[in-house]
């Protein structure tokens, strides 16, 4: 039993990211409400960002800002070697990925507004039922025929 706890606590950051990711993934698949799906997608992506950020962490490392960098060339070199920095590259990557995630969310919300205007609901079941009733075979033909009959 204590072995399991040790395994979990030794790399708890990975456990947290996996748990969060699965929560997000579950919400994306199982939730019927479209906004909840988008929230799920956001949790999913944020979990991955946390994974990247925890990769960058170095025990006892400081923020990757050059210390004493302006004191002249020789001093700067020694100062750089003395201080332990966390890895800045994952941070930079995740800044880009956050921008991507934000734009994905923006597009998703814009689509949700259009869907709501069209169907008057955000529940997947209602939208599906409405589409079935509107067009029996989900086809353009059925809709044209229906419009012709009216």
């Amino acid at each position: 039993m204590s072995g399991i706890i040790e395994i979990i606590s030794a790399e708890f950051n990975y456990w947290i990211y996996v748990t969060l990711m699965m929560i997000g993934f579950y919400a994306m698949i199982a939730k019927k409400n479209l906004v909840k799906k988008v929230i799920g997608a956001n949790i999913f992506q944020t979990a991955i960002f946390l994974f990247y950020i925890s990769l960058a962490e170095v025990k006892g490392g400081t923020a990757p800002i050059l210390l004493h960098g302006h004191d002249g060339a020789d001093v700067a070199h020694e100062a750089v070697n003395e201080v332990i920095y966390v890895n800045p590259l994952p941070h930079v990557l995740i800044l880009t990925a956050i921008v991507v995630a934000v734009s994905t969310t923006a597009v998703a919300l814009a689509l949700i507004i259009k869907i709501y205007q069209e169907y008057g609901s955000l529940e997947e079941d209602v939208i599906l039922a409405y589409r079935r009733q509107l067009q029996p075979e989900f086809s353009e033909y059925a809709r044209q025929k229906q419009e012709g009959e009216q």
């Binding site: 992506q45 998703a108 689509l111 069209e118």
Partner: protein, 503 residues
């Protein structure tokens, strides 16, 4: 000539930057006059086509191009690499983009009269995303371009049929986000074990740690992510709706390019990030891929038979055609690989032509249900002839491109000792005949009671030109498949499988 010399060194990056900047300038051009947008897009696409042709020519004559962004050397800076594989795919993107661009002027005017400017702006950004995905040599950069192309594709699909387009687009967005997140996670895993993001660098670093579980997990994430992106059978749910409900021009563009670039990315990750030994011998991923592809070929064809909407039928047929590409890749021998890679070119030509025809018929008659196509052959002779040629090519009649790639795939299967795939290809060809013949029969031999009220009327010239060019190329490459095979695909397949080196 100094001006020209100045840009020749920067052609690799310009193929991405020019459509990007042009895409953002489109609203300004449209603000002056909406009609100018199309000329602007044509100019851009023509320039991109010239640049990609020049790049491919340079690669064939003098070897792989390495372009260092901002002068930073590879493991630190971002590198753009053009070898035969992405030079070839870039040329396809630029060419199909130009054809769809020419076609779009009339079709967009009718289908999206109020959205001409956003359509062209997004069109160019989609080209940017696809170009960037193919050309980049850095996997995080790849992820960013993947998301650019996905986001623009969502927007294009959402512009389609009222009500249906947005739902299709939303479903695609959810699936696409899962796929992109998996790919991002895979990239993170590989970065964690190698500390590098450069493809060439990574290929050198990975072989020593192939027994590491993290590398295996990364491969699994990549394969699942790309399978969603290309619409491989069990993960294809977004594809039929998205292709059906997008505007005609966007359907042709997305069907012609998106999944092909996804297949390219899969090949790139399997054989350039990882090595052939890893995917073929250590994990047997290639073998799994062939079985999934065989399943996709059969199921896609069967589902296509059940459809009555022409665009939906073509979408299901896309699922089966993607199966051919991945079957060739998974067979992992030189002949099968050539067949698969050739099918990337062939399928873009054929599927783009078919979607353009479907769009032209919809433009003239407003019909998409194929049971209503009776007698259309007499009304729109050129359009339906293009459909006939492209359809025969999909079936794989000798003399068309479809035959060549199926022939190579069958030979590759025999070489690999997998006779069952020859049978799969044969069965699928028969199923293709079933669903295409239904349309041919309606078009050429049906009685025109549904389209009677329309007088003999051909689609406008700007729609006919790209369709005819694509149909002619379908036959040209069918008769002269020697050129792409000899100059590009044979050295490429050898290089990918690690048998020879790139020239």
């Amino acid at each position: 000539m100094t001006g020209f010399d100045l840009i020749t060194d920067h052609l690799p990056v310009l193929t991405v930057v020019i459509p990007l900047i042009a895409g953002f300038l489109t609203p300004m051009i449209g603000w002056i006059d909406r009609k100018l947008c199309w000329y602007w897009v044509m100019l851009t696409m023509f320039a991109v086509l010239l640049m990609t042709s020049s790049n491919l020519y340079t690669v064939i004559t003098s070897g792989t191009i390495h372009y260092h962004l901002g002068g930073w050397t590879p493991p630190i800076g971002i590198e753009y690499v053009i070898d035969l594989l992405n030079g070839f795919v870039c040329l396809i993107i630029a060419f199909i983009g130009l054809m769809v661009g020419i076609y779009s002027i009339e079709s967009i005017k009718k289908e999206l009269p109020n959205k001409i400017i956003p359509f062209y702006s997004i069109f160019l950004l989609l080209i940017t995303g696809l170009m960037g995905m193919t050309i980049t040599g850095d996997i995080f950069n790849f992820y960013v371009f993947l998301e650019i192309s996905s986001l623009t594709a969502y927007a294009l699909i959402a512009m389609g049929d009222r009500g249906d387009g947005v739902v299709a687009s939303f479903n695609y967005l959810i699936m696409g986000t899962v796929a992109a997140s998996f790919i991002l996670l895979g990239i993170g895993y590989l970065y964690a074990v190698t500390g590098s993001l450069n493809i060439a660098d990574m290929q050198g670093l990975l072989p020593s740690i192939y027994d590491n579980k993290v590398v295996l997990a990364a491969l699994a994430f990549f394969m699942v992510g790309f399978s969603i992106k290309v619409g491989l059978f069990p993960l294809h749910a977004w594809l039929p709706d998205a292709y059906t409900h997008a505007p005609s021009a966007a359907s042709a563009l997305i069907a012609g390019l998106m999944t092909k670039v996804g297949a390219y990315a899969m090949i790139r990750f399997m054989f350039s990030v990882f090595t052939p030994e890893f995917v073929i011998d250590i994990t047997r991923m290639a073998e799994i891929l062939t079985w999934a592809a065989a399943l996709a070929i059969i199921v896609g064809s069967v589902l296509a038979i059940a459809q009555s909407d022409i665009k939906r039928m073509l979408a299901y047929s896309s699922i089966s055609q993607i199966g051919y590409i991945l079957l060739g890749v998974g067979l992992a021998n030189v002949i099968g690989m050539q067949g698969g890679l050739l099918h990337i070119l062939n399928h873009s030509l054929m599927k783009c032509a078919l979607f353009l025809v479907a769009g032209a018929i919809f433009y003239k008659t407003g019909i998409r249900n194929l049971h209503q196509f009776q007698g259309l052959g007499k009304k729109m002779p050129v359009t339906t002839t293009v459909f006939l040629i492209a359809g025969l090519s999909m079936i794989g009649v000798p003399g068309t491109v479809g035959f060549t790639s199926k022939w190579y795939l069958a030979l590759g299967s025999i070489n690999a000792g997998q006779w069952i795939f020859v049978i799969v290809i044969l069965i699928s060809s028969l199923l293709n005949i079933v669903y295409f013949w239904r349309v041919f029969d309606n078009i050429w031999f049906g009685h025109p009671h549904e389209v009677e009220h329309i007088k003999r009327d051909e689609a406008p010239l700007s729609m006919l030109i790209p369709m005819v060019i694509l149909a002619v190329l379908c036959i040209f490459f069918g008769l002269f498949a020697y050129y792409p095979l000899h100059y590009v695909l044979e050295p490429l397949s050898n290089a990918l499988l690690g048998i020879g080196v790139l020239p």
